[in-house]
Symmetry: C3
Subunit: 244 residues, 3 copies
Amino acid sequence: MIALFTDFGLHGPYTGQMKAVLYRMAPGVPVLDLFADAPAGNPKAAAYLLGAYAPWFEAGTVFLCVVDPGVGGERPALIVAADGRWYVGPGNGLFELVQRRAVTARSWEIDFKPEQLSASFHGRDLFAPVAANLARREVPPGRLRNDSDDRRPDWPDDLGEIVYIDHYGNAITGLRAATLPRNARLNAAGRLFERATTFSDCPPGAAFWYENANGLAEIAVNQGRADRTLGLAIGNVVEVVSGS
Amino acid sequence: MIALFTDFGLHGPYTGQMKAVLYRMAPGVPVLDLFADAPAGNPKAAAYLLGAYAPWFEAGTVFLCVVDPGVGGERPALIVAADGRWYVGPGNGLFELVQRRAVTARSWEIDFKPEQLSASFHGRDLFAPVAANLARREVPPGRLRNDSDDRRPDWPDDLGEIVYIDHYGNAITGLRAATLPRNARLNAAGRLFERATTFSDCPPGAAFWYENANGLAEIAVNQGRADRTLGLAIGNVVEVVSGS
Amino acid sequence: MIALFTDFGLHGPYTGQMKAVLYRMAPGVPVLDLFADAPAGNPKAAAYLLGAYAPWFEAGTVFLCVVDPGVGGERPALIVAADGRWYVGPGNGLFELVQRRAVTARSWEIDFKPEQLSASFHGRDLFAPVAANLARREVPPGRLRNDSDDRRPDWPDDLGEIVYIDHYGNAITGLRAATLPRNARLNAAGRLFERATTFSDCPPGAAFWYENANGLAEIAVNQGRADRTLGLAIGNVVEVVSGS
């Protein structure tokens, strides 16, 4: 299975052209859109999102990941193997949390050279062919890294920021709920949020945080949009406050 | 074939994770997005939409339906068989019109217990595995209902409301055109709309209603957006007025 | 492979119902969304977009194309074969640039009559079944055209207009970059844009134009949205100014 993780959107040509490469080079392999609206041009926020959502998938899954504001500039093109899953994309920190949290992780610098490499669409020309080959269980077309230039040791283990606004307006943070005290409160946009277990625990219109289905702390308003009601956006700082 | 009917959106992780379950558990079965923007948190409006669009599909189709504002709260988890098609989702009225209009219908309460059931994402953890099994022609993992707690006998046969705004801004009502007098006019947002057969019958900018390709009465503006021009939104009342 | 090129959007029922027809009639053939947001109701702008994006696909690809403001009115229903690729859709100019730029091109008027033809959804009822049959390598169900009523000889070879705004807010023109002088500048919305090779050539916030990954001249702002920053929209005139 190949899972796409990009900031490309679905309606225009970018996701479609990548899928054309995948369908042609890895026929019969299912392809799905995991995120097509990862934080645009923000590999750091995206890295915490990917780190939380990828482990739910079974071993062997190939993640084709493109959040790549530096396309055409200087950043390595990477393959990462972590706990049996494969990741392909730019070496701009996007895989930092996947690598850091894995029991076993290795990375390769891609040395596959496509016949035609556009300056602006490495997702289609470089990363998709590599992902297709990995999905066909071919060996990684690259050389193992001995350095750690692709790593970001200065980034925290959990990110106290909003990293994603979902379709319902819920604000997903880069904090794993399991790392937080049971009675922790979150402070964002000048408000304090208490923890709830499910939406149906709270009256309509109430704001709260809860552990979402992939383990991240998420701020929500029951039957409302947290982004508009509370003025939350990607990049907002989220502080953990001990419960009293 | 499995058709998805949700209010999840396509760009974020919800539809993608459901498809991951389906691809893994029902390999080779085509999966398509019928509605990913069903009326959010509004199972009643969604029920009239589903009731109109489902019968177009061939027998054997499995509809995986999640419009579920009460996730985590009290509502049964259902399988419905109606006229040879399968439906899986929350028992909150979403299947009322499908059941009521079917020649033959049965329903089961799901008693499959997934190993991991998140509080907020039953679409992925509970309903998708059941839909995958039904698509593989396995027996429904539940017990037949003898009661009618999942039914909504007080809902009308046709709903005089806007139930959906489409990509062009057309306003789809919950009224089946075949139930309306030939010269019926519709009253919505303080305006009367006459019936037309096709868009090309009307001058650009004209507002009218017509029977859409799935049998529902739909209010449109030729080469314009009815939602913005006329101020129409989901939930607006639509009255039928006899033609003169 | 079948590529969809429409103004239908992805969230609502139109794309899903077309895919249901394709999956049923051409099982096992991959289907992808190339554009679901082609310029709405604007076959002329759409024609330049299709003309630029289609040649990237391999021979044998079937393009199911619906930008059809005249649905239900008078316009032929077409099959076009051009340089080994197939195109199915309305004869409203949508295929003009594909035909004009092809080494070999033929067109047929579809004479397939579906059992049920809705007035407003020929994409599902007429064009999708034809596309499915072509993808199965059946003969075109139509008669070869001897006239050129479906052609638009008065349209230019390249269109000096914005024809698409992408997910990042970049403004794609109908001008092939290879037809422009190396140092050409573009004039749009009262501003002059210089050429750049890649995004990383320019400082954040700078506006420029470049040759995109499918050969069209595209106006962009590094790490910003050109549409909002510069006030660009589909239909805006773009003039070529010789470099000094």
